[in-house]
């Protein structure tokens, strides 16, 4: 009964989405006030209906209703309650529902916080989001219904993939989706601007906080995913340049470019067409990311052949939304204009360079991720592109971007001179060069690239401090920008140090054996059998000492999840501000010894702390007063082309 109610709610939501997609847009086009007024209530109703459907699916999961095929495929009666709840988004159908729910959340937020916008603008934005929602609801109802029943009902479920049975995986998808879907607001604003032909500083100010908040969620989502890979996959890697990761990284790169481009559009009225294009691409890549990861396109291009209906629907939806927006862009962009002039040395130029670098980086990731799929789809052979490609492309592209992060915020708009900048920056330059030369020595070994990267990190922090000193009473937006940049510096330090100085050992150990690594002595004490709610495990006790002093006891496990008969390496991690110790248990040998991998990872936690600081910066920037103030007059008029 409950699943049927969910199904009905989804069908009703679809009907409301049609109204929301048609009436407000038509009303804004011909000035019909009554139709424009439909936008807000329609968006809120739709969000409520989807939330109700989501609640119904959660109910089915919590109560182990295995007559629902999706529940039977992704849950089990032995599964702990919190994983039964997160099982709702453990598969394709439920992820789509989560996506649509997030869209509802964003639509409701727009309907609440758009009081200061002209009514036509709000109507257009919500109308465009209604079209997006319509596409997703139709996709769900016609090809991937989470409420489909099966008869006879399964006796028990097939269990949630053990890899997803992890607290990180409970919150990672909602965060990531908040980010992905958040870009739909920037997209809707961009399309609304194209429709109205009015794109000015006021428009940029309206869309900036939405874009920044979406970016913040995406940053957190990616960081959580990376952290999950680090401790759950049991290998100690934090980023694999895997297509699934790249799918979330591409919208992040373009979203970052968009945030910077929006700054120019708001402050100087410049980069207008470019900003609109970035907003469309950012959302396009978010859609691509959603489908690549969850529809099975990535694990095998042949997934299209398995369920051609899904593949065709996805292509259709993508073509309508992104193709439509791009066509509109090509048609209306001349109306928008390019924006103000600026000198070769100015903040605009630095931001332009930043944009070029970020977009080039996104393009490089796009090529490396999708080219192998394309080649395979054409039947021209099987190839893959590994981490060496991404690394060799990323370092040279990001190094100048990091350098510019120090210069850009201190340069003046429109025109600045190099001598002026040099005076401002000389101390920062001296300090960062000194640190880059000397700090690697403290770690024992000097590497040119390591010194260079550390110098860049110090450079970012030093210039950020200069910028704070120059504007002690700066706005929250300024403080947020500085914070986010410092987050990048912290991230760079983590990546550089772990990449250069990490060490590991694989070896066969009997209970009582010891191994030393990076000054730590690991002793395998014993291996015992333990039983979890839905798994059995061999658990090792590893004693860690340093210079005879006890540091910690670690318990790595080798688990076997019984329902899916799936083994899992559950690594033990001892985290710390300057290093993580990481022990994982491999296969057993007949003589009672085990294959053990011990790893020393200096400064790895700085990677995620850096991401957190970046996200905090986003939050600060988005909460700036000027985005909330209802403007008494339309300041945008002065820069309208």
């Amino acid at each position: 009964m409950i699943p049927e109610l969910g199904q009905i709610a989804l069908a009703l939501a679809l009907a409301v989405a049609i109204i929301q997609a048609v009436l407000p847009l038509a009303g804004a086009a011909n000035g019909n006030r009554a139709w424009i007024a439909v936008a807000r209530p329609a968006a809120q109703t739709q969000a409520l209906l989807v939330a109700f459907a989501f609640g119904c699916l959660t109910y089915a999961f919590v109560n182990n209703d295995f007559s629902v095929a999706y529940v039977a495929d992704h849950s089990n009666s032995a599964l702990p309650l919190h994983y039964r709840v997160s099982g709702v988004w453990g598969g394709h159908e439920g992820s789509l529902l989560l996506w649509t729910l997030m869209l509802g959340v964003w639509m409701t937020a727009v309907s609440w916080f758009s009081g200061h916008l002209p009514e036509e603008m709000t109507a257009r934005v919500l109308g465009v989001m209604g079209i997006v929602s319509l596409g997703f609801l139709a996709f769900m109802l016609f090809t991937s219904n989470p409420f489909d029943r099966q008869f006879p009902p399964a006796i028990d479920g097939r269990d949630l993939n053990p890899l997803l049975q992890d607290p990180g995986m409970v919150i990672h998808p909602p965060m990531l989706y908040m980010g992905y879907v958040g870009f739909s607001v920037a997209f809707a604003f961009a399309v609304a601007a194209l429709l109205s032909g009015k794109l000015d500083a006021a428009w940029a100010r309206w869309s900036r906080p939405w874009t920044t908040v979406a970016w913040m969620f995406l940053t957190l989502g990616i960081a959580l995913g990376s952290g999950w890979a680090y401790y759950e996959l049991g290998w100690g890697g934090w980023w694999f340049w895997d297509p699934v990761e790249n799918a979330s990284f591409m919208p992040w790169l373009i979203g970052t470019a968009l945030i910077h481009s929006l700054a120019v559009t708001e402050k100087r009225g410049g980069f207008r067409s470019w900003t609109v294009l970035l907003a469309i691409i950012a959302f396009g890549l978010s859609l691509l990311g959603t489908f690549l990861v969850r529809s099975g396109v990535l694990t095998s291009v042949h997934a299209f052949a398995v369920d051609p209906k899904r593949g065709i629907f996805i292509l259709g939806l993508f073509t309508v939304l992104i193709g439509g927006a791009l066509a509109l862009y090509a048609w209306r962009t001349s109306r928008i204009g390019l924006g103000g002039e600026f000198a070769p040395v100015s903040r605009e130029s630095f931001l332009l360079a930043n944009n070029v670098l970020l977009v080039a980086a996104a393009g490089a990731v796009f090529l490396g991720t999708l080219y192998p799929l394309l080649i395979d789809a054409l039947g021209a052979g099987k190839i893959s592109v590994g981490p060496p490609y991404f690394e060799s492309v990323f370092v040279p592209l990001m190094a100048p971007a990091l350098f510019l992060m120090g210069v850009g915020p201190l340069a003046r708009w429109k025109h600045t001179t190099i001598p002026e900048l040099a005076v401002l920056l000389r101390w920062a330059l001296a300090v960062s060069l000194a640190v880059g030369l000397l700090l690697p020595l403290a770690f024992g070994q000097w590497h040119a690239l390591t010194g260079f990267a550390l110098a860049l990190a110090v450079w970012i922090v030093a210039t950020a401090l200069i910028s704070l000193k120059k504007r002690p009473r700066g706005s929250r937006a300024h403080l947020g920008m500085v914070t986010a940049h410092i987050g990048v510096a912290v991230f760079v330090v983590g990546v550089t140090l772990v990449k250069t100085y990490e060490s590991d050992k694989d070896l066969k150990m009997k209970p009582g054996d010891t191994v030393s690594l990076a000054g730590y002595l690991f002793r395998l004490d014993q291996v015992t059998n333990v039983k979890g709610p839905n798994y059995v495990a061999a658990r090792a006790k590893v004693l860690v000492t340093r210079n005879g002093e006890a540091i910690t006891v670690m318990y790595p496990e080798k688990r076997l999840y019984v329902v899916q008969n799936m083994p899992m390496t559950e690594a033990a991690i001892d985290p710390g501000p300057t290093r993580d110790l990481y022990v994982s248990l491999g296969d057993p040998f007949d003589d009672g010894s085990w294959l053990v991998k011990v790893q020393h990872k200096p400064f790895i936690d700085w990677i995620w702390v850096g991401c957190l600081i970046m996200a905090l910066g986003g939050l600060l920037a988005a909460s700036d007063r000027r985005y909330r103030v209802v403007l008494p007059r339309r300041r945008g008029a002065e820069v309208t082309a």
Binding site: P344, L352, A364, Y371, K382, I383, S392, D506, N565
Partner: protein
Amino acid sequence: MAWIALGVVALGVATTLVLMAFNQNLVFFFTPSQVAANQAPVGRTFRIGGMVVPGSVKREGVEVRFVVTDTAKSMPVVFRGQLPDLFREGKGVVAQGQLGADGVFAAREVLAKHDENYMPPEAAHALEQGAKAQKTIKAP
């Protein structure tokens, strides 16, 4: 105009860089039959795939040796370290590494996807090709 020119130059440099790196780091895939026919490059990293021959996995300390087959031809593989959780005899596997002078494929990475019933597409492809090859051999 100066900044447009600069931007174009920067974009050109970036594109060249990307394409060069791309070209150098493409990893091609070969089936054991193709390796047996000497089609695989020597001294360059490539991928192989197929099924782990049951009974072929031998551990010698941290080193592990196994044989990968596409049902038509087989090849020996050696790997140092922990195998992925779902590596099993009789299941599909993909390995990346280089072919040694002794004809043993030294794998740097072994990939086995995290789902019991999942066959890596490359491994499935290799088995398909192998089966086809055997049929054509038997036909006459």
